[in-house]
């Protein structure tokens, strides 16, 4: 009898662990009443600013560096160019919430899977407005859930200074990739990281002012 009780407890513990680890991104956060229905991101929103970043991309152990340039060219669309330090253009995209155009890409990078991955990353990076359906909190952040097709975006906004620090792009069960922002002035972000959880891809952007 005692033996079966222990077994029962063990199985229950095991199930509990499995269930918890299968839970959604919000498992560690406390639900909260919605305090807003939308959120506007300031970081790439000014059409007068040239957003220029020194960039390091680590993909499956390979390093690529260069310069990432983004510019808002109209209400909905950003132009994105990635060049080498010498200035050779490696890719040139136009991207909005629901459109995407490749102006040019060097043949070495012209792979559908790569273009689609970057499209997803950059679209989220440059996204201006999120509509919010649910809200959570932890000790340091208010966390807003925003639907994105079959997936969700979780926006982490610091309680201390109300800045967007992180966006987690997630399926129902798993985090797919994460954007982190470091911003001094809440106007643009000096440092941005895009980290993928399911593939070995990390993009690091460091803002620089040219002379």
């Amino acid at each position: 009898m005692q033996k079966s009780t222990i077994q029962f407890l063990l199985i229950n513990c095991f199930l509990a662990i499995v269930l918890v680890s299968c839970g959604s991104v919000t498992k560690n956060y406390t639900p909260k009443k919605l305090d807003k229905t939308s959120y506007e991101v300031p970081y790439f929103s000014d059409s007068k600013t040239d957003y220029v970043y020194k960039t390091n991309i680590t993909v499956y152990g390979n390093e690529i560096s260069g310069i990432f340039i983004a510019k808002k060219i109209n209400d909905t669309t950003h132009r994105i160019v990635f060049t080498t330090e010498f200035g050779n253009k490696l890719l040139d995209f136009e991207i909005s919430d629901n459109s995407f155009k490749v102006n040019s890409i060097v043949s070495e990078l012209d792979r559908k899977i790569l273009i689609n991955t970057l499209k997803g990353d950059f679209r989220l990076l440059l996204k201006k407005e999120y509509l919010i359906q649910e809200q959570f909190e932890n000790d340091s952040d208010n966390i807003y859930k925003s639907k994105d097709g079959k997936r969700d975006n979780y926006l982490f906004i610091s309680k201390k200074d109300h800045r967007l620090e992180k966006v987690v792009h997630s399926s129902q069960t798993k985090e797919k990739f994460t954007l982190t922002f470091t911003s001094e002035n809440n106007i643009f972000a000096e440092k941005i990281q895009i980290i993928h959880q399911n593939i070995k891809l990390k993009i690091e952007l460091n803002y620089f002012k040219s002379e």
Binding site: D50, I67, R79, V81, E85, F86, K209, E211
Partner: protein
């Protein structure tokens, strides 16, 4: 009023003419000779540079700057100092990169395209690039300067660079500006300053 407009038109068109004038065959021969004499004497070369990346949709060119050092026959260091530290060395079939202290090396071995790029950079800075097999070349005079335009013949190279324009100081017959055109709207312009020719440069400079 009419005269004023006529004068204005004359002035503008006059200016256009003054900007680029094709060289005669004799001028081309003498210009090439001058450049060849100077570039043959170059054993080492160091120069400061300012690079302006022009993209048509940006409000301002992206400006970076640093130093370039070359030593015969094929040691080359291209070093950005502002606004970030990034240095690239071409040495014995290898490319050594130092990106803000993060070091990496690429073995280019006999890679044709990198061999060509190396040759191109050295050629651009020394001016000795008059290779009719590689480029279709045209020659111009622009107020006190000479200008040579190179259109790559090789299809692979052409994918990256549509045209290279070298501007030469007329007196010294050395390159003062390199312009790499990717398309009609987008280009990289590199201005060379404080050039020092044939100063002693140790091989140890070309480590990264």
């Amino acid at each position: 009023m009419k005269t004023k407009i006529a004068l204005l038109i004359l002035f503008i068109s006059g200016n256009l003419f003054a900007q680029e004038q094709k060289m005669t065959a004799a001028e081309i021969a003498s210009f090439k000779e001058d450049v060849n004499v100077v570039s043959k004497k170059i054993k080492t070369l160091s120069t400061d540079f300012v690079q302006y990346k022009h993209l048509d949709f940006l409000s301002k060119d992206i400006e970076t700057s640093g130093k370039m050092i070359f030593k015969e026959p094929s040691l080359l260091q291209w070093q950005y100092k502002k606004p970030y530290n990034y240095s690239i060395v071409f040495k014995n079939g290898k490319i050594l990169i130092n990106d803000e202290g993060k070091k990496s090396a690429v073995d280019i071995g006999n890679s044709k395209i990198f061999g060509r790029i190396n040759k191109l950079i050295v050629g651009s800075v020394s001016g000795n690039m008059f290779d009719d097999k590689e480029f279709t070349i045209s020659y111009f005079k622009v107020k006190g300067q000479n200008l040579a335009k190179f259109v790559p013949k090789d299809a692979t190279l052409k994918k990256y660079i549509k045209q290279i324009e070298l501007t030469f100081d007329k007196e010294e017959a050395t390159v003062i500006q390199v312009k790499l055109l990717e398309s009609s709207e987008d280009y990289t312009r590199i201005v060379l300053k404080n050039k020092v020719i044939n100063a002693k440069i140790d091989d140890s400079v070309f480590t990264n």
